[in-house]
Symmetry: C2
Subunit: 301 residues, 2 copies
Amino acid sequence: MAFTTKATIATFGGKLLKLAHKSATTGTDMNVNVFFPGGASETKKAPVLYYLSGLTCSPENCSEKGFLQATAARHGIAVVYPDTSPRGLDLPQEHDSWDFGEAASFYLDAGEATPYGKNYKMETYLTEELPKLLLSEFPALDGTRQSITGHSMGGHGALTLYLRHPGRYRSVSAFAPISNPSRCPWGQKAFKGYLGPADLEITPESASDSTIPEAWKSHDATELVKKWTGDKDLKMLIDVGTGDNFYINKQLLPENLEAAIKEAGLTGATVRYQKDYDHSYYFISTFGQDHVDHAAKYLLA
Amino acid sequence: MAFTTKATIATFGGKLLKLAHKSATTGTDMNVNVFFPGGASETKKAPVLYYLSGLTCSPENCSEKGFLQATAARHGIAVVYPDTSPRGLDLPQEHDSWDFGEAASFYLDAGEATPYGKNYKMETYLTEELPKLLLSEFPALDGTRQSITGHSMGGHGALTLYLRHPGRYRSVSAFAPISNPSRCPWGQKAFKGYLGPADLEITPESASDSTIPEAWKSHDATELVKKWTGDKDLKMLIDVGTGDNFYINKQLLPENLEAAIKEAGLTGATVRYQKDYDHSYYFISTFGQDHVDHAAKYLLA
């Protein structure tokens, strides 16, 4: 048994398992919650929607407050809530701020040369080790039908994992995603620390195509769509609240992603600006049904 | 303005206000959250559903995790989330345990002779002062159409306020309510402290009709239905999870309430035992839709 079950909770006609396991990829214990819809079994497998959470979060936040289970149960879809970073380490600067280090992995594999390279391999963990372990232990999950969504930093994670692994996920959506991290303070701080170079000084104002390192561009949704060679139909849904202070303060920059999608001649991407909504789970829970419906359209096709 | 607005949050097409005000009844500041469905106005007033929360809770728990708003928005119903007790006091034993004192008021008016009599006047606060202030400040609320629900201690509160004030609420429901507090440890501890006599020694085993003080019976749903003279159709919905440890350990005793309702020849009460569900908001959120639909049936009739 790869996983230790810390709790089994009946909810929306199915069950939520709180799981822990030792990850060979990160070299740490990892937590993950999984919602199984009622009736899922080895002979009636459930497709899987991954939800990546935002800065400071754990698998609990969306499990408790996102309300995704209500709609997932209706569609017979499983939802996987991974953690936002490895835990229990003591790396340089890992615990100095809430927007870098623990609970702020940005869902990438940190550069080997950085202090984070050995453990912060979240992309490999999320796209290889975790699905493999889940599918091996839970035959009710269907590894051939997966989609991904996420919030804020997790919206960035969902968009970039989707765009970096064409064909792995059937659709993508995001709530208030960090859409152009190379050009916002959160993303620049993270990319500098996780991808280097450590001595690079770059600001949102000075960021331009020529100053942004290629390593950063390869983890930036706005840059990735410029080079996208997959299906022109992006199967992408994004919601952003106009009352979201992080949107107002240009940490999210969905307008840059929208412009890049248009410029690249891609279709099937809907970006909605929801009047007055903020960055919280009050926003996510309101539009969660739409995002699960969006995934269901492709997972159940 | 009776209320200070601490936050205005867009959610489910309406808005959640986090309010604070000085209560003349409790002599303290009080917090209350109110969800206004979209489109409610002075000329299109919204009926009101009160939700009373459980031990240790605040107005936030159900606002964030209960998802009553999803269904209330659909029906055009407002939801009021009061606090679970006065705050900021320092009464004897008020902060010694999580099941008595602060955040554990049991929604009654404490006896004048007890140390709690001056401030813990929650029944008066909830049935008189709070509705009056809300209706006066928010003309979009319809004071002629009110229902009540709650969880655990708040389920006790909903049932007893409904049964003690015939006609005030159009319907009642409860999630895992403390249904016979005179005969369970939580209720006995609370009633002893709030209603006295302070030297009374009573245990669940020794509790009988003759040993239970009349003051306790008057705040006990199971006792109140025995003397109920209102409409025989109780318009009551109760859900209890069979995996709820507090149910298993006989803190809730819904079976006693059921038996008393049957014995009294009353109708219109549905008590459902939900297989494997626990005491948490995973349970409440699952059946929240049913409870708001139940209230809507009477509020919109």
